[in-house]
Symmetry: C2
Subunit: 318 residues, 2 copies
């Protein structure tokens, strides 16, 4: 029986493992089938992790996190959890993709979310070299330069507004002729002098060279093409919340989620199921920053320790 | 007029300054009359800041935080805020201890909280060298060793339970003959084989040498003394929440607080006053860890940017 099963090996899972094992939990396992470190390992330049003064790659930033956690006894299992279920006695059963099972007194869901790509030529090739899915992370690198934003949802507009504070000009490329976001929000965007809306348009191809992106080709409604000479392209066409492991046989989720499938939590990272915690980009209102995911993981680990102590005392009382 | 006024220069304030200025806010000032870095600068060994693999002192850990924030334009003002008030137009007025004033569109309260000391001999001398006020931070350094816990409140019992998972023995020194904590919690403590309650007792003196603490002298009810040969002494006799700047003329606080004076926040670090945010140890349910305070600051900064964009658009609309 595991004390604490951590699903996901990004910053949230790794920080949770560090605090849970250093906090005295004996059986702490982190399930991550891929390389630990999370999505940030795909970023080439990080300059906003607090305390990390030199600009580093995501790979370099995360390199020390696994040894820091395993030093205190956390185990890394290179295995994928297919489903988490709660048993009658309040413990959890993890069914692995392989069919193998694990039992756990408490579980942290730290599986993250993945930005959707828009599907145009060059997009994946230039990801991290001019194509970005995070304005907070990368906006500053385009201070005083022109950027394009792809998307027309609430997030796209919010991020375009954020970028408008930094970039000299923001082109917003939207495939429809209107936005579905609240009118007040759309008005804020339209009021910005350095924002140009390119409606009923689709990105066709991002162009670039060895130094990165040099421009974006956009197909307009009439079939003609327009070249935008931008060094930065931001894609906000939705996210896939990686909540599959929470899906139960009846088609519902093990715990309460938002309409977008994000796990609902309180300030202490508790879900509405006792012993089940969530941390990082899989939870609602996640700021999608390494330091925030790490903090979530820390909080969840401390709460799991308190929860397990309570449960053990109850069982000893019986 | 400041865009964002940050009150307090610990991890929360510094991380907020980094993200707010890097996020494009022009006028960002952090008010900290002392040396920036916060309480953690008094700790001698940190091994649990995610990504910081080598053990470092608190001073060394925080050294890079101020230059990282000022690099993007945050200003550090060595001045102390006496009172924050909200004006009719929704902006804030900061009155400094000197009588000087500042105006701000948004404000972050990141003033922290300070652990109370118990007031026995040697306590301050050995703080950070065997005397601690944080089990999560320092408990692991006493793995397999004996420790004493001073205090009888809920926090003291929670922290004693946490330490009981790590230490070979935990002495709990309480001045009364009973605990006021919930009976179930007290029972959990009593059920631990490695916990000894030393009731109606007061710490008299912590003893030590250059290597740190070597023992604690305790005065018992009958006036006799008992020597506990512990290398670690944890003090949990309450905290002073540094919320003074929020106190208004009528004696109430500017925003909603808990019965302990901690600022109430939601997952996005909003208080119940628009444009006023809280982060770090001054807020409710704060885990009192550097990475968590930093995350709070980041969230508050991102929310302040969104808030200011909204307000500016409103004013332009008028």
């Amino acid at each position: 029986m595991l004390d604490f099963a951590i699903i996901g090996g990004g910053p949230a899972g790794l920080a949770a493992g560090l605090y849970a094992s250093r906090g005295g939990l004996k059986e702490v396992a982190m399930f991550e089938p891929g390389m630990p470190g999370g999505q940030i390992t795909q970023s080439s330049e990080i300059e906003n992790y607090p305390g990390q003064l030199e600009v580093v790659s995501g790979m370099d930033l995360m390199e020390s996190w696994l040894p820091q956690a395993t030093r205190f006894g956390m185990r890394h299992e290179m295995d994928e959890v297919a489903r988490i279920t709660r048993r009658e006695d309040g413990t959890f059963l993890l069914t692995m993709v392989s069919g193998k099972t694990h039992e756990a007194l408490s579980v942290l869901v730290a599986t993250g979310s993945v930005p959707k790509m828009a599907g145009f030529a060059g997009e994946k090739e230039f990801l991290g070299r001019g194509v970005s899915t995070c304005a907070t992370c990368d906006g500053f690198f385009y201070k005083g330069k022109e950027v394009a934003v792809i998307g027309g949802g609430d997030t796209a507009i919010e991020e375009a507004l954020y970028l408008a504070d930094l970039a000299s000009k923001v082109y917003v490329i939207h495939r429809r002729d209107a936005f579905r976001a609240p009118p007040a929000m759309v008005d804020r965007l339209k009021a910005r002098e350095n924002v140009e809306l390119v409606m009923e348009a689709k990105p066709a191809e991002v162009c670039g060279d060895q130094s990165g992106v040099t421009g974006l080709k956009v197909t307009l409604k009439d079939g003609s093409e327009r070249d935008l000479p931008v060094p930065g392209v931001f894609i906000f066409v939705g996210r896939i919340v990686r909540n599959n492991a929470l899906l139960q046989e009846g088609g519902h989720y093990l715990c309460e989620t938002t309409e977008w499938g994000e796990v609902k939590v309180d300030l202490r990272m508790h879900t509405d199921v006792a012993g089940l915690f969530a941390a990082g980009d899989v939870r609602e209102h996640a700021p999608k920053q390494v330091v925030c995911a790490a903090s979530d993981g820390v909080i969840a680990a401390l709460e799991a320790i308190a929860y397990i102590n309570e449960e053990k005392a109850k069982n000893e009382g019986n």
